[in-house]
Amino acid sequence: MNALRKLFRFNGGVKPSYNKEPSTTEPIVDFLDVAGMPAEYVIPLHQSIGGVPHPLVAPGEHVKKGQLIGGPDGFVSSAVHASTSGLVKAVEHRLMPHTSGLTALCVVIEPDGKDEWIEHAPVPWRSMAPDEVRDALRDAGVVGLGGAVFPSYLKVNPGKKGALDTLVINGAECEPFITCDDMQMRQYGETIVRGAGILRDLTKAGQVLIGVEDNKPEAIAAMNAALKATGEQRIEIVPVPTRYPAGGAKQLIRVLTGIEVPHGKRSTDYGVQCFNTGTAYGIYEALELGRPLISRVVTVAGNVERPRNYIVRFGTPMKDLMNVAGAKPDSDRVIMGGPMMGFAMPSADVPVVKATNCVLVGSPALFPPPPPEMPCIRCGECAKVCPTDLQPFEMYWFSRAKIFGKAQEYHLFDCIECGCCAYVCPSRIPLVDYYRFAKSEIWARENEKAAADQARTRYEFRMQREEREKQEKAAKLAAKAAETKAKLAAAGAAAPEDDAKKALIAAAMARAQQADKAAEAAPAAEAAQPQAPQE
């Protein structure tokens, strides 16, 4: 460890009570070893940022563990795999682990109990082109496991310069209650360090800094031991001061490198990229073992008898985790993630997905209902604690008044929804709720605007086309008229030769006229006949 490394700091931040100890007393254990297989795995197809993968299996099909069941759709998308071997019971809409309580397409697998792997082999990534490695990572379904679930293959990129200066591995884990990264570093430090080594080589990073908050001395010690054991070069474990939200990507980058990524830029523009420790673990498994991402470490904490970390297959119902951990009878809610940034779940029946770093069980005693919101007194406490240097009170006023343009001018979209502002607000205003509302309204409007612009161009194109077709038709008619005229003129010139023909036509017409007259006379006579008897 380089004791002379200078650390920087981000503005603001808070120090909530961490409540991390209870879930760190027992080591991580595979959830299957303590609870067995659930009756069914419900695996949502949309588990990462970006396009919704399309289902590749049909009901009645037999799948093996690790088999591709959802193919990535579009540039930003990631594959989804079967969590175990078994029968595909259904491909249908099921309740999603999403605050909305809406359903989405899921693959439901009934396990056959054999837990049989599909054939897989290590990926020879060292001898592959960077694009091929990225494709392999996309098809292995590796996404950011820190919570944002952004497809990792898009981030494994040396950037415009061809090499990164610094690769940051995020082991800060600043959110209260959550200990999955901490415990994974303690138990699987070597795998994480090797994963970091792979990322270092893929991004051609000059140095790798693994940032760990200094309230995790065991994890720091374990990672340093792992570093020695693996002998990986240019990697350093850096303890960072414990302050929420030190685990935010931009915040950790600032603490470790001093680089403040400005509005509208990416960290790669400054030669820095950031991955979570769990993602480094997943990348090692995907490339060195050829195993797709089908499970992750999940903390079960809060209002439970036995808080602990488990390796959980995706698709396991959260209810099963709560039963094993012993949720207390007064539990009244399930939160995915931590108390600061987590999302309330519509039910405990929803499955564990790639974004589930923690299943936090709440009760009225643990998380009392929020006291009534009071008017903003413009004290400015929120601006003092904002880690992204925004003015939360301004964004609040404009979001509340639905003046979205102004809220955007105050850089609403730079807000990471960390909740520091709401945490310190003396008027107990749920500020983040207002920001989320404003953000989703702005997104919807932008989509509508884009659709309207597209409709306008399509309409204008149609008008143009109709006009063109009209002109073409007119031109065609004119051309045809000219053609017949020319023909007639030609016919006039050739008249003498046609005299015989003309005489024939005249004779035929005369015959026809005679026939007509005869026909006219006949019906008249017929009509007259039936009338005769009556008279």
């Binding site: 207002y434 399509r458 309409y459």
Partner: protein
């Protein structure tokens, strides 16, 4: 003085040619607010003609049902006019929908294809037609010409992707003194 006048006059004349504004910028601004459904509910044959009529002062700002109340507010802001509720004779604000063709009933007559202002219907004579939902503006212009009534308007369902966070509401509690 006369020389100065000539020089300045020439400069002005040049500027009027060089910086000539193509079209009416106000019409563009109004058109940008209108929803581009091209439905004709306002009584004009499209959004642009309605925008032109508003700019000329020939039409009121409250004749666009798809734009809704919000659209009227935006137009009122832009033009400095008073807000008015949506005019009832032009229709009512409905949830956003897209047209859907019942493929069992469709006879392939192409009448709806000719009616669609944004070319969102795919098909050919005596071939079943279908609607490209992504491109459909929900104008309902295809409903009327269909001889077999096989087109229905389906409201766009709420999904996890388009779900919106609700405005934070805090119930008011009765406090007994």
């Amino acid at each position: 003085m006369a020389l100065g006048a000539i020089i300045l006059g020439a400069a002005l004349g040049y500027a009027s040619i060089k910086f000539k504004v193509e079209g009416d910028p106000l019409v563009e601004k109004i058109d940008a607010i209108l929803p581009q459904t091209q439905c004709g509910q306002c009584g004009f044959p499209g959004c642009k003609p309605y925008a032109e009529a508003i700019a000329k002062g020939e039409a009121d700002i409250n004749c666009c049902p798809p734009g809704g109340e919000e659209g009227i507010r935006k137009l009122a802001d832009l033009l400095g006019r008073e807000f008015k509720p949506l005019s009832e004779e032009h229709g009512v604000e409905k949830p956003k929908s897209v047209a859907f063709i019942d493929e069992q009933t469709c006879i392939g007559c192409t009448l709806c294809i000719q009616a669609c202002p944004v070319d969102a219907i795919l098909g050919a004579a005596k071939q079943m037609h279908t609607i490209v939902a992504k491109r459909c503006t929900g104008c309902e212009l295809c409903l009327e010409p269909c001889p077999v009534d096989c087109i229905a308007m389906v409201p766009i369902p709420e999904t996890v992707e388009n779900w919106k966070w609700k405005y934070p509401v805090h119930p008011i509690k009765q406090v007994t003194a």
